[in-house]
Point group: C2
Chain length 325, copies 2
């Protein structure tokens, strides 16, 4: 199944199904919000499946064209957003260049809790306090879970994965190292994230969903210039293992969003990067200095992972940078 | 005004007013949950004030005795819980004993985002995965805010303080240093917090609310033995400054909870501590070794800050430790 949410004046919006080719959409009958659907998944999933089938068969006269740029985040707010850093090539590169402690060698997943009271819409301009903070994007995959009990294992984590989404985890790179050095981790350096318009069940990915990983290229562009297309299969641990890590000492409520961290491949010189900071690190290694600037007001960031056959899946995040001062 | 919340089958519970001596309670007329009241504060506060006045005058025939042990957390869930570490004597002591980097000398507040999809009730047993994690309590004060816009300053932060609460921020001390070293900060080491039963508007504290600080002793006991009574006035920065720090790159939704961090005074040898880890640090300095064990199953932790005249204010948190394995 594929889901999108449209504004209706309520913070959670109105849940819709989107057909298999992202061409048509229709309001769901079985639940009015994605949060509600996730909380009552066992009960409503069969009814949603039936309506999805009818939508794909072209049998729903209420269906209308799907306009991804009009969508909200499919889950416009969530009770927990727990973002990992599961691509070792990203972490190791940053550590090498910036002479950081080898955090990725600690033998346990890295994860922090970020803002989740609102996810930005996929075409919403993103507002930041200052260019001095070195504004960056981070292309990520994420999963949305059902309820997970404290100390659930990775197998239970796998069973709890309801949906896959694509996220832009905006980052303020000047503040990141300062906050990481404090031991308290990332707060000011992590503004609100955005989500691509379509959340999909794992079966929609077919063979591209494997071992709890999204084996698809995430294609990024900056001001319409290609920036990178790393593949999500390279996660050192799968989403099911990130869920088990997150749940060690806490219950995860239905609708918890678990992020992969910046998608990155060891072949970053060939496939490029999913954030500016990683490209700058490669430039420091190869050219002796960072040449790609961080984001400026008006810059356009676009990211989209499509199916292996190039048909649309999550839809695109396409956002403009706005700075308050 | 004073507020408590009682269970009604919904996660947000049913909002009640509590009279000035915590003797009587009555369901609120103007809003049914604290979250709703916070979102519509300008509109509902005058009506809540009028009902509170009638409750204190003994004019409400629906009022019933207030049983604090039956209450939920006054705000049973929130969109953000941002916990600071604003008592320098605590941070400096921990750094000295455990040879940590001088985080408290970085010149900026320390803060992380923790679990807020449910706050434990004040008399609820607290369940942890393992005693091996070195279970500890942390007595804190916290404020609940109205909506605060991105980059609000400390003055706007002060105006946004709606309520003051008392929090037990449970901590797993074995995991804390591991997570702090990772740079990603605290996740597994911070299980769900609990809240004392009564949330109060700042005016209830009279002269004990000053410069954005709660100038009251927080009295803690462990298995009914006094453990400490540090005073909340010693915060290096006030809650209004913590709010400004939190809001630098994010909007704070109405109902955001901002914590002080473990209450601690430089006279810790006289007044004791608000967590076991700090007492153990003092023991290491004075006796050459830590002697107070971390918590065991069945241990009873109690903490309560009362008015300067010893009348009840927030009510007590009194919880028993339960371990799954």
């Amino acid at each position: 199944m594929r889901f999108a949410t449209f504004a209706n004046g309520h913070p959670d919006g109105r849940l819709h199904l989107v057909c298999r080719h992202n061409a048509l959409t229709v309001a769901t009958e079985a639940a009015s919000t994605l949060q509600e659907a996730l909380e009552r998944w066992e009960e409503v999933a069969p009814r949603l499946e039936a309506q999805y089938h009818r939508l794909n068969e072209g049998c729903l006269k209420d269906a209308r064209p799907f306009e991804p740029t009009e969508a909200m985040a499919p889950l416009p707010r969530a009770w927990q957003w727990l973002d990992g850093s599961a691509f070792d090539s990203h972490g190791e590169l940053m550590e090498q260049v910036f002479k950081l402690e080898a955090r990725h060698a600690l033998g346990r997943p890295l994860m922090y809790q970020g803002i989740s009271d609102r996810f930005q819409s996929p075409a919403e301009p993103s507002v930041f306090p200052s260019v001095q903070d070195n504004i960056d994007f981070e292309g990520e995959f994420a999963v949305i879970t059902g309820a997970v009990g404290m100390s659930a294992d990775a197998e239970a984590g796998m069973e709890a994965i309801r949906l896959i989404v694509q996220v832009n985890d905006w980052s303020l790179r000047y503040l990141g190292p300062i906050e990481m050095k404090s031991g308290f981790g990332m707060l000011q350096c992590k503004p609100r994230c955005s989500m691509a318009p379509v959340a999909v069940t794992p079966d929609e990915l077919g063979a591209s969903w494997r071992e709890g990983r999204v084996a698809l290229d995430l294609r990024l562009s900056l001001n319409d210039d290609p920036f990178g297309h790393p593949n999500g299969a390279a996660m050192a641990v799968g989403f099911h293992e990130l869920i088990a890590h997150a749940a060690y000492s806490r219950d995860l409520p239905a609708g918890t969003v678990i992020g992969s961290g910046t998608v990155s491949n060891t072949g970053f010189r060939q496939v490029g990067s999913a954030c500016i900071a990683e490209r700058r690190a490669v430039e420091i290694l190869d050219l002796g200095e960072a040449r790609t600037p961080f984001l400026q007001p008006g810059d356009q960031v676009c990211m989209e992972a499509r199916q292996a056959d190039d048909t649309p899946l999550f839809g695109a995040i396409r956002q403009q940078v706005v700075v308050r001062q």
